[in-house]
Assembly symmetry: C2
């Protein structure tokens, strides 16, 4: 099957503000947040009744910029550009694709680096703890604002998969279909453990200053360590081995240097440092905490009972070498959905690329996604022509 893959071209981030003092976003913790700003992008065009909307949910370090470029000189396209565009998995000639930065993030949406209206200074660690449910509640306000009564599909990988599942349970009437990729019904103990190490590295960095560091460079060393350990969990043993093996960084002979010797060390250090240039340490803390808290059974009861409330069609995708969210975790969701007689498809994609595979190995993902969306159209037809078309 030949799929022509074009780009969505140049896109412009938009802003949506809600949650005044009188009508704030009430968080799962009970605390109120407002005003709330969401940065989002859209690709494709809405049809007349806005039934062709697909909401893209990003992972820990993602942002609203999922496809296309921001200006003609951009060298990098959005983080899921290989999946979003004309003729691609999320075909912008048929669907109206929406992508928003999560709250708690640092890419434009309200987060710990935003101004606290109570003090006129950045929130820092005064920002309230948020949950995946809170992220989704904020997205719901955006979706309402855009005049979408029912999303044709909510899709995400990793923490994006958490959001997609949350949508199906928190707002079952407003979701026609869900694609949950490389995720699970909860974060595993090991996942919490790795997050805890990352947060330990950040919060024990003296430059963290209890989270109020915004007039300085911030805890860049701790954040780099956190990113390095997380980065290892995104790759498979085999992909690390194929990519670097035990190759030395700079020569054929061992240098017996106390710092770098192997290529994989330099690579990780580079990844860690680069990350600190584009991500806020407090956001890292808040978003990993939100991931820790994600646990469908705690919020909605045992999985089978929880999913009995869902009405969406589901596509669940895992990757064979993903050890952060192993296939077994996807199967747990699938079993619960089957037990409660939901409409569910499941694919375990064979890949050497570990957890990051959903960003890399998109050929088979494109095929199963396209087929699933076609199937979803049969149960809820949408107009092929956009309202603007």
């Amino acid at each position: 099957m030949f799929i022509e893959r074009h780009s969505v071209g140049q896109v412009k981030p938009r802003r949506f503000v809600f949650g005044s003092q009188e009508d704030p976003l009430v968080l799962d913790s009970g605390r109120a947040l407002g005003p709330v700003e969401l940065v989002y992008e859209t690709y494709g065009t809405p049809n007349q009744d806005h039934t062709n909307a697909i909401l893209i949910c990003h992972a820990l370090s993602g942002d609203a910029h999922a496809a296309g470029i921001h200006d003609p000189h951009d060298k990098r396209v959005g983080w899921w550009d290989n999946m979003i565009g004309p003729g691609k998995a999320f075909d912008t000639e048929r669907y109206w694709v929406i992508s928003a930065n999560v709250i708690g993030g640092c890419k434009g949406s309200t987060g710990p680096n935003s101004t606290n209206p109570a003090t006129g200074k950045p929130y820092g660690s005064d920002f309230p703890l948020i949950t995946i449910g809170d992220m989704v509640a904020a997205q719901k306000r955006l979706v309402d604002h855009l005049g979408i009564e029912r999303l044709f599909c909510v899709v995400g990988g990793s923490m994006g998969g958490f959001q997609a599942l949350e949508w199906s349970l928190r707002y079952p009437e407003n979701v026609h279909s869900v694609i949950c990729i490389a995720a699970g019904a909860q974060l595993s103990t090991q996942g919490i453990a790795f997050n805890a190490v990352g947060r330990h590295a950040i919060t024990t960095d003296p430059d963290w200053q209890d989270g109020h560091y915004y007039d300085t460079a911030g805890p860049v060393r701790g954040l780099a360590s956190a990113r390095m350990v997380a980065h290892i969990t995104y790759l498979s043993e085999i992909s690390l081995n194929n990519k670097f093996g035990r190759r030395l960084q700079s020569a054929d002979r061992l240098s017996y240097d106390i710092h770098h010797e192997f290529a994989v060390e330099s690579y990780l250090n580079h990844q860690g440092t680069r990350f600190t240039e584009r991500f806020d340490a407090n956001s890292y803390i808040y978003i990993t905490k939100a991931m820790d808290y994600f646990d469908i059974a705690r919020t909605y009861g045992p999985l089978k009972e929880a999913f009995a409330e869902a009405t969406a069609r589901f596509l669940v995708v895992s990757y064979s070498s993903d050890w952060l969210f192993p296939t077994a975790q996807s199967k747990e969701i699938v079993r619960a959905l089957i037990a409660t007689d939901r409409d569910v498809s499941f694919v375990d994609i064979d890949s050497p690329h570990g957890h990051d595979a959903f960003l890399i190995d998109i050929d088979q993902l494109t095929r199963v996604t396209s087929a699933f969306l076609d199937g979803s159209q049969r149960s809820q037809p949408i107009a092929r022509r956009s309202s603007a078309g």
Copy 2:
């Protein structure tokens, strides 16, 4: 089979000094180290011709104190007390068991916290980088000093397994048998990567002070982070899940606290902090570097050719849930030994305890070890009575 398990009782650490300025230990890096002090303990008694000696090699954070207690008030026994003693796997009624702290360590043997004779101050990061081969070369001096021509067995788990393998290749004439547990013929890329993160956390801690911190508390925050990430790699996903799951630390309800929430977080923090009370950060750097460097193929050529030089009998043991040194790495050793027609036994022990299993799941390990040592006696009989007996 009933095995009576007694203790070796009270033991006294001993010291052995070698490597004067005129006869230093020449390291694999080409640098010289001297004088070198080794702290060691022995359990059981030598037979007349010293043919019943078993050398125990410890892992990253281990020490010479492998069995028994140091004084009657000791609440903790040595780290492998469940394996060493009268009637145990390493039966001190038959064998003369020797355990020494590695060079580079911080438990009495010469390492970065030892006094640099050139300055009269601790070496710090002026200590030369060492390899597993260097550790073994130092042990060889001790073994010579003890009047042992041929070790009946060299045994170790994890980095101890590296040392056991190294003995078989560096000093093939001096080793009758080798037990390599939860190790491999090299440290994997992922293993290097996790070590690199730990070292990054230590060396970017401002209290590391380029390795010269011995008049202060040192980089305890970085070392704690390093230990936390390593600790995760020692446990299996399933054992973490069984032990902690998603249990909260202090209550049934979520506290929405930016610091600890889940039991596994508190556990890891506690492990990290406790480790800083008993281990030196520079030793952590030097020993993980030594592990990184371990690569039989680089030092001795392709495995099949390398092991063709070995004359020992081998027992290779892996644990099913060990993901730091997966079973496949043990099998790689076994395949090379079989290909070159060596005498090798291999057991993959089914265990949920991950890499740490060799310290915990010792029932089956005891059985296979005892059988292997009995078999080794058939090919090299040792006197049953000790010279002291």
